[in-house]
Amino acid sequence: MKQRTSSPKQKQVNISSSASTRESFLNRRIPILPVFFLLTWLWAAWYYGTVFYISREYSIWVADVRIMDFVLNQSYGILRYIGRAMLQLYKYPWLGGLLLALMLTAGSWLAGYCMRLRPSWRILQYLPALSYIAVVTYHGFDIFFEAWTGLIFGIPFVVLTVLCIWAIIIRSFSRKPAPTFVGIPTDETPRQNRLQLAIIAVCLMAIIGFDMWQRPYVRVVCKLLDMEYKQDWSGIQKLARSNSKMSNRPMACAYAIALVQTGQIAERMYDIRLDYDSLHIHGMDWTHNNASPLYLPEGNYYGGFIESSLRASMEQMVMTGPTIRLLKIMIKCALMREEWELAEKYLSILRRVPFEGTFCKKYGAMMRRTDLVNSDPEMAMIRLTEPLHDSFESQYQQPLFMGYNLALVEGRSRNALINSLCVCLYTKLMPQFLERLEPLVGTTPPGIIMDGILLAENKNPGISQHFTGINFRQPQFQSFLQNIQPYMSDRPGHAYELFPKYKGYYPYYYFFGNLKATKKGYTGITTSNSGVN
């Protein structure tokens, strides 16, 4: 093999060339605005796109000002109206993100122009845009939850409009030349240029770091809700399991819905932690909210409680006005109740919302077609767990989809029985669990039910003999009981560390899961109204 050699002259040339390369690199200036645009687009479309997408679902915009009167009659209603219109582009996050990034970048450009910033202070022009990103990230769910979603685009729109007017005035009177938008500002030194870039990168990283550290659940929950709307049940399971240490009710509900829809509720329910950490979420009155409006209509709907889902949706609509999400669930509920005119009413409004043609076409075809409603996979699954008889919501603990199943004495299907048994196990009410076991006698129950039977065996010796297949789980259960002995004196204290080891195992949940003191951020103040924890 020949060794490469170089003459001293060549070396000199190489050294001087590398030095000049380094020098030229150090002297190279980067067009900051395009980079800023690219970074904000990535943030708005890829990183935070799902949150904005869900914000759109929690909002509505139609051209008809009569329908939008509830927005227009608010203070600055016209701006909220425009903001909502822009938010519609988030049906496709890349598109909504593109508009938002353009607005933020254009705002930064104009801010620099209007404030006549010298190169060393030019970083300040990015301050409004970066502040916007920081504020949005700080608020998390609050940007759309019982909030005025028109502000998401409304605020950048107002800022941009003001800056445009300001810039036009400056341009008209001082004839100051506009700085380059896509090119490199000639008055910046390379150092100033790189410093700007570094500060922007650090700010964005800090914001994203804050989001990952303080609001990690926001993007996850929004992605789950997105998948729920798209009926991506396997996607929900995958995402929830990959974030299994994170624990909050909206996630647990979405995960449970996915399991119910795929018939796995009694097999995989405990693959995620169910301790319910405190969430940063506030209602219209700015007090801390238990987040139940995020999942109550859906929980009731997928639990088979169509009337209650319709009611919960209606209550939310009273407070926030119609939203795409509420209209969609109400359309489905109305179809399932065979209230065709009601479904048509909501469809008439949804048809006016941009980009909702696919949904309207699918469910519009079900109008006055009970056969199509009942053969829809999602609705057919829900039909299996509808109540057999009428009763009143107030007779059950809340949330209803749990409370009803705790009291279930007669079900429509095996699915209804399994759901009821799972709720009994979830609430750790073993007597109720045992009362409902009889129909499974002589069969091999699903895994979680078997583990529940083994747990009940302690106080009810011999009960497991009525079922087949349980003996295989006995050694695992005995080993678990032995292993947890050292931790039993302080169960809340050890719950979190034991979770990875016993993830998915019901007896772990029974002893260590869903204990008030285990909750991350638990303050001792109950903020939830839920009857069943």
């Binding site: 008809d64 000002v65 009569r66 227009l72 608010q74 009155d285 209650s308 209230e339 109540p387 107030s394």
Partner: protein, 541 residues
């Protein structure tokens, strides 16, 4: 705010310019095929009787393949043409419509509709509209509120001029959420169809009853330690400055699997008499075992009609008072109200002995909202299978009692399979407006029906809208429609001042010596009960 209103107007103006600019030409086609099919129009304005002063009955023709429409109204020597393109919305010229109606009072107008289909124009089977001689009271006020059950947010009482499409707010609550100012308003009511005396209630923040007389509003507080709740359903006395109120302890429960959505019921209710001039309140009826509600004066002011249900037989005597409502809800479909009346002497302000006018419970039915016709001959009421909140009962229908002939009958022509309830007479007694959920089962819309001299009601039609589709798009219910001869003159601003800036004067409680007070018994509405039977029945549960 002015900027916002201006913006709204600009947007509306732009839409109007586009709409008017594209107005299709109204011309009866020269060539068409006679199609032997009924036209499908929304709302259903076919074969109805209309008042001569009603606003144009704009409608939508529902034909999935047609692309243009022409409508020809033909009356006595008069013709009116209207047209629509593929949006199928027939908008009728107001001036021409008015002229057509005025020129055809007491006659029929024939309606011919032509539709342009791919193979050419067709002519549907014509239908007719009958124009009555008698006008309807020109103003209709109602509350617009979502048919929610527990929560409320933005709502208001509005007044619609029935001769045009003009709608004005009488009063709107706070548009933006505000914990300190959120409030609900309900039960607006006028004396004998005149807005000179008006009242409504404010609940929650700024609560009280707002009384408007002589163009001035003031707030009062009716609640007293002897009164179970504040005043609820009102009825102005026709000649003396008095108002009869019910006072109700109301609860609600939500069905899980039922065609109806909610059951609203009273755990307790009594009747009150409020003296507006002296700001004094006292009981008319105060009982522990009967539920009295929906008071209504006869036009001569000498009889007070109301509804009453005996619930003693439904409650186990061992049940403590605090649990009565929970027990009652489980027997909601056994609570039945009779129509009662009690004589009243306006001079001495004394009441006589109550009597059962219609024993609905006996036929396992229940009556609510009695309203006596202005001539005093008919009592219009709602009859359903059970309960009193018939606005959520699909079994509810409108009935009348002919007090002269002592007969009762359903207003079959006006009723529908869905909810038909809360009603209000026009001052001439020839029209009534009522709430119905027939359109979609959920959102109430006001329906207008003609009540002829023979006491027969005719097919009802929905309140006309400038854009007929608005009945579908509006996500609020028309609640408590009340007709009035004149417009409410007090401004929303004055009402706002009264509501926000006054606490409300406490009404003094003054017992009426002739009031029916029976805290251990009933007024006659309760079925006779065997106490031992109830007890043993209760223990069985």
């Amino acid at each position: 705010m002015k900027l916002l209103t201006l913006s709204k107007y600009i947007i509306s103006l732009c839409i109007l310019v586009v709409v008017v600019g594209c107005k299709p030409k109204a011309e009866v086609p020269v060539q068409f095929v006679e199609a032997d099919i009924e036209v499908n129009i929304y709302p259903d304005y076919k074969d109805i009787v209309v008042p001569p002063n009603i606003a144009p009955l704009n409608f939508i023709v529902r034909d999935s393949i047609a692309t243009a429409y022409v409508v020809q109204f033909t009356g006595k020597g008069q013709e009116l043409l209207a047209a629509a393109d593929d949006d199928a919305v027939i908008r009728i010229d107001t001036a021409e419509w008015r002229s057509l109606l005025m020129g055809n009072k007491g006659n029929d107008v024939s309606v011919d509709i032509y539709a342009k289909r791919p193979n050419g124009w067709i002519h549907y089977k014509p239908y007719k509209i009958s124009i009555a001689e008698e006008p309807i009271d020109a103003f209709l006020s109602y509350r617009l509120i979502e048919p929610g059950y527990e929560l409320y947010r933005q709502l208001g009482i509005y007044q619609r001029n029935l001769t045009t499409f003009e709608e004005k707010p009488i009063y709107e609550n706070n548009r933006e959420y505000d914990d300190n100012n959120n409030h609900c308003i309900n039960c607006h009511n006028y004396r004998m169809g005149s807005t000179e005396s008006m009242l409504f209630h404010v609940r929650s923040n700024h609560g009280g009853t707002i009384i408007v007389q002589n163009g001035k509003a003031h707030k009062i507080q009716l609640k007293d330690s002897t009164i179970i709740a504040s005043g609820v359903y009102p009825s102005w006395h026709p000649t003396v400055n008095l108002v009869a109120f019910s006072t109700n302890k109301t609860g609600q429960a939500f069905h899980l699997y039922h065609p109806e959505k909610v059951e609203v019921l009273d755990a307790q209710s009594d009747l009150l008499l409020y003296d507006v001039t002296n700001n004094e309140v006292g009981h008319i009826i105060r009982t522990s075992d009967d539920l009295e509600t929906f008071p209504c004066w006869s036009p001569d002011g000498r009889t007070l009609y109301y509804c009453s249900a005996g619930v003693k037989h439904l409650i186990n005597p061992i049940v403590p008072d605090s649990l009565i409502s929970q027990h009652l809800i489980l027997k909601y479909d056994s609570i039945r109200y009779n129509l009662m009346s009690i004589p009243f002497d306006p001079e001495s302000r004394s009441f006589g002995t109550p009597k059962v006018v219609i024993n609905a419970a006996e036929e396992e039915k229940s009556i609510s909202v009695p309203r006596v016709s202005p001539d005093g001959r008919y009592v219009l009421y709602t009859k359903g299978d059970y309960g009193q909140f018939h606005i959520w009962h699909k079994s509810s229908d409108l009935w009348v009692m002919d007090l002269e002939k002592d007969t009762c009958y359903a207003l079959a022509e006006s009723n529908s399979p869905d909810v038909d309830s809360f009603h209000s007479w026009s001052s001439n007694g020839r029209w009534f407006v009522f709430s119905s959920r027939r359109m979609d089962g959920n959102y109430t819309r006001p329906y207008i029906a003609y009540f002829d001299k023979q006491g027969r009601a005719h097919k009802a039609f929905v309140l006309p809208q400038e854009d007929p589709e608005w009945n579908i798009l509006l996500l609020k219910s028309y609640n408590v429609p009340e007709l009035s001869k004149d417009a409410v003159l007090i401004s929303p601003k004055e009402l706002h001042q009264c509501i926000y800036e006054t606490e409300g004067e406490q009404a003094a409680y003054k017992a009426n010596p002739t009031a029916i007070v029976n805290l251990d018994g009933t007024t006659g509405a309760s079925p006779k009960v065997d106490a031992e039977e109830v007890l043993s029945d209760g223990l069985k549960q």
